[in-house]
Symmetry: C3
Subunit: 345 residues, 3 copies
């Protein structure tokens, strides 16, 4: 299966990779071991010793490098073999080292040509920067192709059916706009003159009884990095007067049939000590529908598709599919361009 | 794998598909959702929305049609899209609808060309008609190709070895006759001058001490629909003086390696209130050997065959295989004829 | 996958195949049923009736032959059909019979051309002969190709990393010699002037405080039959003054991805009644690291290799790989020679 290789992929939340611990994760069918140097800098190496193919994550961290669990070969943070307990250090021995960068509470790995890896091209998620935000993060493993998850977030018209708690007449009557600015896709939903459930009034700090204008704007960047802006304001007032919360929904392919689902919310540190608790509670609350409503349907779809591709199955396209089809086409174009540049890795 | 498509397959017992509930079952590698109209009429649709391929059985019944769980598209009982909450109803949108008929306590689905579906061609099982019979039904899922189950029922010489409770000298010395009338195959076993175990005397209402003549006649029709007539009479008397019980053994392929096993027994309503209890008890009793004696051997055979076909493995054919080989040939001929008529669906 | 076929494979420990019981085991992707004649002689037949492919191990032993569980065909110890309850005995009917020999507390099966099977070519394991030795045997099933296990035993430089309990400065500084005598490969490790842990002093019956010279010599014969000689002597003295224990490590492929691991130790009967207990305890103690240290790494390597072959992955070869590469080459040459002699079975 063709993946976009020259791209930053969210490999792990920062909190998943702890000091002095080796952390394994498979990305794009490749086994990675992630860890931190003694100064905290994250490192990603191929999780396979070139000698006998043992997974390095079963070994240990030695001198900011990794020691193989099987025969003790040692590799530096750059993947070079620096010690062989059984003889001279083999000059050519190395494991692949993946460029990594830590930003927005996450460790991002570059899975393609290292020469093209510039952290500037990481999809921006400013609201996950721990300097100014209390960030709540979550993770689910999904048995489905990652683009099925892109579809799910880019078309929130499913809320009414999959998440009945959030449904209402106004949600049903929402207006949707799909557009792209270069390779960034937007799916924007406008819900007007809504009388939402109580917890939404509370979230947006709007007095009960008022009609509410709401918006659910999703920004997509390749490969599957999305921001969901959830906002509300007293009906008729400008957005600036309202409240907007932001969620991250980032999907990294583990394989053609399995996906790492990273989601997060945040509250400004400026709110005070309350922000941290809010972030933790919110992300825990979100897990409910993500796990018990979205995950089952997306995985059932994957089972129903079997080994056939999305386009081979000739999907019926509706107006609500505008944004997800835009995203699928942009991603396919990027992968095609990469494939014609160079043979697949 | 080639299936016979222009055929009625037992899809579910009537009792499995309850009012106001969606019921899923995979037949011939295709996902089906079964349900009942408000007047009770059964319906079978493809269990895959043409929009995003969600399984419709996860949705709900609305206006005698099905609403997709994901984005709320609605399909009528004939599979036509009748509602799109997000815009105009897409004219071309439909899910495949399978002709169904309810007969003999079961719902039968036609998996081929709808134009050729006439309920008259359903294999007759009069003794399962609920009007005159109390029917006890059972279901097992078998990890084996369905023709291995056909073989099992069409050759009951295995009784002596697999079901020792039913074995005797006379069973061993049984005479067997294999014949076909058109595309119907019969395997007939005659057991004469038997002294069977007590429960058989009781079942046939014959005084202990008498010698018994017994018969085990199996009727097969494609694809794998069998009646087993189990009878007994005082030795030397004509069959009409004896008692005959009837069992149904129907096998519907789920996939090339898994099979739905539907079995049933019945007692005439004319017997009075006792009949219902007898039917329930008998089918429960039968489950024992079916599950703990037949199922393990058939599944072990399937494992032993791996991915090789029955004929490729060059089976040693014995006289006892007459009926099952007849059935295999008739089914193969029907499938071949169908395949040369039209490309496989 | 190509196996060496003209070879004796350890099929089961003698104790695994009990009188009057059928024992199943799959070797080289073929199902075998093992049992004993009334005089104790072991027999190995193909575990698949030629009639309907039922596994014979589900049947029973009758007259020193096997009766099929399904329709009662009976096969003699040589695989010839000798009884058919349903008609004349089919002359051509037989199951494959594998030459077997019982030696060294094990039953060995010949998986190739029977004409070439001479028990003389069984790899010698004299220290497992029950006449003179109390033998402790163990078994593990490994999810990995059997040559990965050969690699593991032929290169004990992993001890320091995988089995820290046995590590020491002297172990680290061990000298290694890899050589072959014809098709027999030796990997010899010399550990000199060691101060080992207490249990090693006890095992070698050397007073604590003495420096110890130790050796770990592995002898390999195709396909994957190894002896490990573990010895120790007061430093500077000749080996003959010391103590040597012997272990067997024999790997029989079940399939391309799964392996039967047979291991054993023994103590001379001449030691008296204590020997039996020692054998039992030692083999139980060994199971610990084999199961919790070697097995996980070997299986993790197999997962990391996926469907790629060892050589395709271009392993980095080190000095420590001398013996295992010798063994891999000898085995490959034998398989190649066999394949060019005759088409694979």
């Amino acid at each position: 299966m063709a993946y976009l290789r020259n791209a930053w992929y969210l490999a792990a939340w920062s909190s998943e990779v702890r000091a002095a611990e080796l952390f394994q994760r498979r990305l794009l069918d490749e086994p990675l071991v992630l860890y931190r140097l003694s100064d905290g800098t994250p490192v990603a190496l191929q999780d396979r010793c070139p000698h006998r193919f043992a997974p390095l994550h079963m070994g240990k961290i030695v001198d900011d490098g990794v020691q193989c669990p099987y025969h003790g070969l040692q590799f530096s943070e750059s993947g070079t073999c620096v010690a062989n307990p059984h003889g001279p250090v083999p000059g050519a021995a190395r494991v692949r080292s993946y460029p990594v960068a830590e930003r927005y509470s996450a460790i991002w790995a570059w899975m393609g040509d290292p020469a093209q890896a510039t952290p500037d091209s990481i999809t921006p998620f400013e609201f996950l920067s721990p300097e100014h935000w209390c960030v709540g993060t979550g993770y689910l493993r999904i048995n489905a192709h990652y683009e099925l998850e892109t579809d799910n977030i880019l078309d929130l018209s499913h809320i009414e059916f999959l998440h009945p708690l959030f449904a209402s007449e106004a949600v049903r009557a929402a207006k949707v706009q799909s557009l792209h600015e270069g390779d960034t896709v937007w799916s924007k939903r406008f819900i007007t003159r809504d009388t939402p459930p109580d917890f939404i009034y509370t979230g947006f700090n709007i007095p009960r009884g008022e009609l509410v204008d709401r918006w659910l704007d999703v920004r997509w960047n390749a490969p599957a990095n999305m921001v969901l802006n959830v906002g509300g304001v007293i009906s008729g007032q400008p957005r600036e007067k309202g409240v907007q919360l932001q969620q991250a929904h980032v999907f990294t392919p583990e394989s053609a049939t399995t996906t790492h689902y990273f989601y997060a919310v945040s509250f400004p540190r400026a709110m005070g000590p309350h922000a941290e608790q809010l972030a933790r509670q919110s992300v825990e609350t979100l897990r409910g529908p993500f796990e018990s409503e979205d995950k089952p349907i997306v995985e059932a779809i994957a089972r129903n598709m079997g080994t056939q591709s999305f386009w081979d199955l000739k999907p019926l396209l509706l107006s609500i599919d505008g944004a997800s089809v835009l995203a699928r086409r942009i991603l396919a174009k990027k992968i095609d361009a990469e494939q014609s540049d160079q043979p697949p890795a």
